[in-house]
Symmetry: C2
Subunit: 138 residues, 2 copies
DNA sequence: ATTCCTGCAAATCATTTGCATTACC
DNA sequence: GGTAATGCAAATGATTTGCAGGAAT
């Protein structure tokens, strides 16, 4: 049950938090903005304010339940952390997001941080391009 | 002379544009936000509005004179493109930005884009961490 | 002269916050 | 019942835009 995840994070189990968690789990492929989550709630006739969505997502981030990404679009998107580490490749036309994982890159990144005398806390790698599949060919 | 760069981009040669270009060139190590540039202008007693700074930086971006980066800080930072390609390593305590360049990573990135059927237009790689040098040890 | 550029103030967008009310344990 | 969470509206911070006046070619 999902409520245990919330308790473990020291968050009271409330309807908004459960609903938002459920929406994120139902959209495994998609990286959702706060607005996206809010619209989804509206379409389910849930009376949850946008401010609450922001608050909950921020709490989830602090609790390592979701990860916040800043792609080029200006608005932050969130995804569940549950699935293992991965990076992103984003279509600049359609917004489609795919994921990848490359041990060679990760190893190099760790080495570079070390060489620069940094204790790495995180990194962000996003490839931007045009998906030949979904954008038709030219 | 810098004015040729502006003309080539189809931009009229004006005082604000020259001043901003000069400031970016004088701060080679630093990645400046619009606000940073604006403050620097003020300290030089230049009567240039913040809106103009934003407009000029956006035009420079479109003309491939500068690159816009969205680090985690919430505000965009800009740097001259002139220097070759490089990626960034950012100290989350001090905001210090260092640069690096790794052909192995770039090669892998190109390959990954290819494998996913993307025509890569760009990518963004930022390492976050704590700089042992500038943050003292603990 | 014409067209493009600038400054200012007001507008917009994403996100955050204050406060009175409500829901959990 | 008491504390923490929510909804709403107003506040904030970064960036953009409308418009009238000014500069560059």
């Amino acid at each position: 049950m999902e409520s245990s995840e919330l308790k473990k994070a020291g968050l009271k189990v409330t309807l908004p938090r459960l609903k938002i968690l459920e929406i994120l789990e139902r959209n495994p492929a998609w990286h959702m903005s706060a607005e996206d989550v809010y619209k989804e709630l509206l379409s389910q006739n849930e009376e949850i304010g946008l401010a609450t969505v922001y608050r909950v997502l921020t709490q989830f981030e602090a609790a390592d339940i979701v990860k916040r990404h800043q792609f080029e679009s200006g608005k932050a998107v969130f995804e569940l952390i549950s699935k293992g580490e991965h990076d992103h490749i984003v279509c600049i036309k359609t917004g489609v997001v795919e994921e990848f994982h490359d041990p060679i890159i990760q190893e190099r990144i760790a080495k570079i941080a070390e060489e620069h005398g940094f204790d790495m806390t995180d990194y962000s790698l996003v490839i931007y391009g045009i998906s030949r599949d979904t954008c038709g060919v030219r």
